[in-house]
Amino acid sequence: MSEGLFRLRIAYPKAGRLRFLSHLELTTACERAARRAGLPYAVTQGFNPKMKVAFGPALPVGTGSTCERFDVWLREYVPAGEALERLRSSSSIDVAPLDACYVALRAPSLAASLTIATYDVVTVGGVSVEDQQGSLDALVKAGELVVEHKGKQKVFDLASTLPKEPKVRTSNGQTVVEITTRMGDRGSLRPESLVMAAFQRSGTSGSVLSVTRTRLAEEEDA
């Protein structure tokens, strides 16, 4: 069995049609790209050896991203720039890596350290930016949000879930809500749930066009 001596961190997007992939589909696609790229990846110990990789926090089906990350352990050193080029030419364009760099072998795992995520939620429905901002502010002030998902109710304490206030802006003629959430052990708040709740609260019939994760950060950067 091969020890992983180098830990390469890859940044990649989830864009276009591929935002419809599930987390499992996306991670499989990344692993296969690494194999196609011919990277000298390490494998796990045991009867069922697998490529040694680790991914950041999962994205739901339909949510895009400009800032995903995964770590792959290598047996041999490959210059990061070369690894990036090889990965890019082995990946579908919508998930083609943007950056690669080595990190310390003992660095904390992506899933554990990246707990703060920022999203752009594009909305449609003819509400003015001010009104939308107003209803979001009121919602945040109320302090609690109850979300129903697959028949189960979840209560989010918004003060701890939202390290930053949601902000509404216009960009390229679209209304965009920027939401930063803290991902907890017991489920994360979907940004679109917050936006839809705000619409409901203000009695408007707006809807969400797309959700894109734009930033993943560690707690101290919040």
Binding site: R17, L21, S22, A29, R32, V43, F47, G62, S92
Partner: protein, 613 residues
């Protein structure tokens, strides 16, 4: 081409597993300036279709023709189909995202009988007239092919043409004939007449079935001879197949290491119609495996065929692959194992330290019954294999059996229970007492379905009442503890049997059942026999007279015009030997047993890439 994506995208937020519909997989080909577009359609969900090897092979064959764009389409799941109908979005191909109806050629696979209602769902979603007779110059050419083409009659009315046999070379010829005649602006009838001249192509509209079997009306040949790829080495295994995002049924590289099987099991249609055995060489197998892995990035490769352990160079192939793949975490698998010690050895080579589960198919419980079906496996073989597997560390096996075989008596059924008991004892003896609790023995029992072009093609399938009675005989004979017994749904087998040997009258039944909601019949939760019974009644077709009636040897059979190379004399003699429980050896290892295929089709058995002669 009309790009439907802007209309499809909004539907995806509300459907299950949208990865089925988004294209963009690694290896998918996008050829914008093609003069001719050919869609390969699998009449079931994406995750089943993407596991189908024929689609992958033909995709590659089409891509090699200049000016031709291969495309794929699958049956959307019910939620998506509903959304599409509701929003007036027709069935689309993945690559260009254009309506299926805008293709030049629509090739639909016929993988199993239970997909027949799906074919109508596909045509309807695509806005292509269901019946070939109703299509006009603006409709694509709809061609079928695949395992069920050997009795094409039940679906003949829905196809312009049906290819019988291997598609690798035939598909190119069909495309080139179609392109040439299309360019000259001739009528649809003339196009079909030209296609009927391509070897292996059956054009149903050029035959009359008034007399009970299909008779050529003049232009088409009296019998349609199956296409056969003499030597698998002539066509490379797909090097860069499409790599699905979604977790499909067999998510791996597949390299077909041999085609055909002449072990001669008398119930097995594949073993009869895919003769003779044609092996790829060890060199090409190793080359294609490595190339496929490199291009796809898959973590598993399967060496497929009807009986992969029969390949004459298998050990060499596995040795070379394990050396080349060491340390990569890539695994090699075989789809089926024979009941013998060699197979356990192979499984050990393949699995490394992993001991998941082993599957064996003794098919019948008594030696007499196994001799009737020519399954050349003895009780000693099975028990020896079981001992070897359990001593080597496996704790789980699954055994496949059939009930309802010709000449079967209750004693044969009780023999299954007795055999399973012996297997259980052998397993216990072979593992240390402390580990006996971990032993798992699965027994899966199917109802025998007689198929066309086999020695049992004249036999009756047992009725549903009789299936239930025999099931209870079997249940009573089974060990009371430690066995996981499962049944293949007998109602599904009943319908399969009627479809497998029916004639053109079945088309009305399929259409009736589909209109009443039949679709996705191979999915247990979607299947309803009641719906099919109503369809048989409404169309005045008696399913029992098709499935559960013994035919005379000289009776005209609906598939009589399909020439597989097997002589009907051979099938009849095999049927008689079955009655007497006399076995027939495998012609691959022993001498020719006179099935007729090699002389009729001018081919030969090919072992290790070389003709045996």
């Amino acid at each position: 081409m009309s790009d439907l994506w802007p209309r499809i995208e909004p539907l995806l937020a509300s459907v299950e597993r949208p990865a089925r519909y988004i294209d963009r997989e690694w290896g998918a080909l996008h050829i914008d300036d093609a003069e001719y577009r050919a869609a390969l359609v699998y009449p079931d969900a994406y995750e089943l279709g993407m596991a189908n090897q024929a689609i992958g092979i033909l995709y590659q064959c089409l891509a090699a023709i200049p000016g031709v764009a291969p495309e794929r389409a699958f049956l959307p799941w019910r939620d998506m189909a509903e959304q599409m109908r509701h929003n007036d979005v027709p069935l689309f191909t993945l690559e260009s995202c254009s309506p299926l109806s805008e293709m030049d050629l629509v090739g639909i696979t016929l993988p199993y009988e239970l997909t027949y209602s799906n074919i109508l769902e596909i045509l309807d979603l695509a806005c292509i007239p269901l019946r070939a007779a109703d299509r006009t110059a603006s409709d694509p050419l709809v061609i079928g092919g695949g395992p069920c083409a050997y009795n094409p009659e039940p679906v003949a009315a829905f196809f312009d043409a049906i290819l019988i046999g291997d598609g690798e070379h035939a598909i190119g010829q069909i495309v080139s004939v179609h392109r040439a005649v299309k360019a000259s602006g001739v009528s649809r009838h003339e196009i079909l007449s030209a296609l009927a001249k391509v070897e292996g192509v059956y054009v149903p509209s050029l035959y009359s079935t008034d007399s009970g079997s299909a008779v050529s009306l003049g232009i088409a040949p009296a019998r349609v001879t199956k296409r056969l790829l003499d030597d698998l080495g002539m066509v490379r295994s797909p090097v860069c197949p499409v790599v699905p995002f979604m977790d499909v049924v067999h998510d791996r590289v597949t390299v077909e290491i041999l085609r055909g099987c002449s072990r001669g099991c008398r119930f097995c249609q594949a073993g009869m119609v895919y003769r003779p055995v044609r092996e790829r060489t060890a060199d090409t197998i190793v080359r294609d495996v490595l190339a496929g892995l490199e291009c796809t990035g898959h973590e598993e490769v399967s060496l497929t065929s009807l009986s992969s352990a029969d390949h004459s160079q298998l050990e060499e192939v596995l040795r070379r692959l394990s050396r080349r793949l060491e340390g990569t975490g890539v695994t090699v698998s075989l789809p089926s194992l024979r009941v013998d010690a060699f197979s356990v050895e192979i499984a050990r080579l393949l699995g490394g330290g992993r001991k998941t589960g082993l599957t064996f198919a003794p098919e019948a419980g008594t030696q007499r019954m196994r001799d009737v079906i020519n399954k050349n496996v003895t009780e000693e073989d099975l028990l020896g294999t079981v001992r070897k597997a359990f001593s080597a560390g496996w704790h789980r096996i699954k055994l496949y059996f059939m009930i309802g075989l010709p000449t079967e008596t209750d004693a044969d059924i009780e023999g299954i229970g007795a055999l399973v008991r012996k297997v259980q004892e052998a397993a216990k003896e072979s593992v240390p007492p402390a580990q006996r609790g971990g032993i798992r023995i699965g027994v899966s029992v199917a109802t025998f379905v007689p198929k066309a072009h086999t020695p049992f093609q004249w036999d009756a399938q047992i009725t549903l009442d009789e299936v239930r009675r025999r099931q209870s005989v079997l249940r009573d004979s089974m060990p009371k503890r430690g066995i996981d017994l499962s049944w293949h749904d007998p109602e599904v087998s009943f319908l399969e049997g009627v479809m497998a040997r029916g004639g053109r009258e079945i088309a009305d039944v399929i259409e009736h059942a589909w209109r009443a909601g039949a679709c996705y019949d191979a999915w247990t939760e979607e299947f309803s026999l009641g719906r099919w019974r109503e369809a048989f009644d409404a169309c005045g077709v008696d399913p029992l007279s098709i499935g559960s009636r013994v035919r005379e040897f000289d009776e005209k059979l609906p598939w009589g015009h399909i020439q597989t190379g097997l002589s009907s004399e051979f099938l009849r003699i095999e049927r008689e030997r079955a009655s007497e429980a006399i076995t027939t050896p495998d012609c691959t290892f022993d001498e020719c047993t006179g099935c007729g295929v090699c002389p009729t089709l001018g081919v030969d058995v090919i072992l290790g890439g070389e003709s045996r002669e």
